[in-house]
Amino acid sequence: MAKNRAQIVYSPKQKAIRAVLWVLLAIVAFLVIFPVLYIVFGSFKENQELLVGGSDIFPQKWIIQNYIDAWNQANFAVYTKNSLFLSIGVMLISLVVASMAGYVFSRKTFPGKEIIYGIFTAFMFINVGSVSLRPLYELATKVKLNTSLWPVVLFSAGGGQATYIFLCRGYVNSVPRELDEAGRIDGCGFFGIYARIVLPMLKPVMATIAILSFRQGWNDYILPRVFTMTNDSLRPLTVGVNMLKNAGDGAAAWNIMFAGATIAIIPILVVFICFSRYFMGGLTAGAVKG
């Protein structure tokens, strides 16, 4: 019946109201998009123009020198490489860890399962803030891992895994057990059933987790900030561009910071535009199942 909605004929008064509502949506959309446009267009302005200010969001003269400077002098090539390493690392680890754990939680019964599951849930709600990064930082220093980005990758993946495990478990629950049975008859073990039968069926939820965990790694700020406090060459974009702001020569480097912020948001916005379905689907799926 809902399908008929498209054929509803609106009276002139209704049409007018709908036009007003549309304008309202458009105004809010403009306000939402404006800050992003401002930063992107601003990154093509000359620093002189940025320092004067004004109300024009388009550059008087378009230049790409800011990007060249950011890339070559301000270390943004390294920051970008680190951001990619971080986000891809978090994504791959999350996919492997969550799909295996979700599969085991869904298919296996073992003593203490409910308790372990309960602890996972409990720690989703216990939030003590940044203090928990302190012991992790000291741990990484102790095992001499603090000279690489690996602890950031591992701790980020470890901190975010619960949601992904819940997503996977819910999805594996919906995979018919008859398929496991068929696999077993064909000689697959417990892991074989996971690798050959369940995993291929998990594609939609794996896509969601890939997207969400990539975003998590790309956008992480406090965690990499704490871990790279004394090591500029390990900083991802989020930290690198903000350190520029704190560096004191803040006002002088507006053009570099505009270019840097743009480099930090464009990749994730492109991913969002291409896969918005998974971003938005993942949010609500997590809420229902988590």
Partner: protein, 291 residues
């Protein structure tokens, strides 16, 4: 056997990233610790008595409540209104939905940064626009004037977050049957009546979850505020998790770092958030019984 190995990575992560830090916090609650192990001293109840006398901390708790209240007051109605408009299936609804959701995929540190530029007093574009159309004569100190800085922070956090809640509302509304709207139309209900008599009541389970997420979320915000104002000017926007962050990871020397004390305040903050959540749940339940 295989299942144990497959579960092992997640269990190790849970133990290292969640359980270990939690226990570690309790280890230091009664200690003076500045990051150098040799300096660690047991100080008995001093951290606790300090906490109750710490006006800056309780001030930051007050600021957190103020921030959360203002944020909720704007973000929930805006998210709900936009969801209702999107539900009218106007042309371009999918596009608008994507635009509203977009800020949520941007790192909070970068949103904080973008708004630092927008709100800059001298060369920020907001003052530029306001002055060029003549709304203000002199530049407004969006980030330096104690009377408006909270508004700036709220604007940023509403911008960054309302898309999330909008999406929950949109999803909730699609599950309301078309027939219900059909019959209300036949009964001659207007748009406002339809919203208050049908949409809102049928949305109330979703609304309760969203409110819960929004409340706990607002109390935990500090990353973007750190970038935008770092709690300033003075302590005007110093929310509690930001105050705690600076105690533990502050850029100052080791002497100003108070990790043991920060651990205690973190627990206190967690208790405060927990208490607010519980009170909210009780109120939500009461409302359920009344309506």
């Amino acid at each position: 056997m295989a299942s144990g190995l497959m579960l092992a990575p997640s269990i190790i992560f849970l133990a290292v990233c969640s359980i270990y830090p939690f226990i570690w916090i309790f280890r230091y609650v009664l200690y003076n610790y500045d990051g150098i192990p040799a300096h660690t001293r047991f100080t008995g109840m001093r951290n606790i008595t300090n906490m109750f006398a710490d006006a800056t901390f309780w001030g930051s708790v007050g600021t957190t409540f103020e921030y959360a209240l203002w944020k909720l007051l704007f973000i929930i109605p805006l998210a709900l209104l936009m969801a209702v408009l999107l539900n009218q299936k106007l042309r371009g609804s999918g596009f608008f939905r994507g635009v509203f959701f977009m800020p949520t995929v941007i790192s909070s540190s970068i949103s904080g940064m973008i708004f630092t530029f927008i709100f800059a007093t001298g060369n920020g574009i907001l003052n530029g626009i306001l002055q060029s159309v003549g709304i203000v004569n002199a530049p407004v100190g969006w980030l330096t004037d104690t009377s408006v800085v909270m508004a700036s922070v709220i604007i940023m956090s509403v911008w960054a977050g309302f898309g999330n809640y909008m999406l929950y509302f949109v999803t909730g509304m699609t599950s309301i049957s078309e027939d219900v709207y059909e019959s209300s139309r036949i009964d001659g209900a207007n748009a406002v009546q339809t919203f208050f008599k049908i949409t809102l009541p049928m949305l109330s389970p979703v609304l309760k979850v969203v409110l819960m997420l929004a409340i706990t979320g607002a109390f935990k915000d500090y990353e973007a505020i750190m970038v935008l104002t770092n709690g300033g000017p003075g302590t005007r926007t110093n929310v509690m998790f930001l105050y705690i962050y600076n105690l533990i990871f502050g850029t100052g020397s080791n002497a100003t770092r108070q990790i043991g004390y920060g651990a205690l305040l973190s627990l206190m903050a967690a208790v405060i958030v927990g208490a607010v959540t519980i009170i909210y749940n009780l109120v939500a339940k009461k409302l359920d019984d009344v309506v």
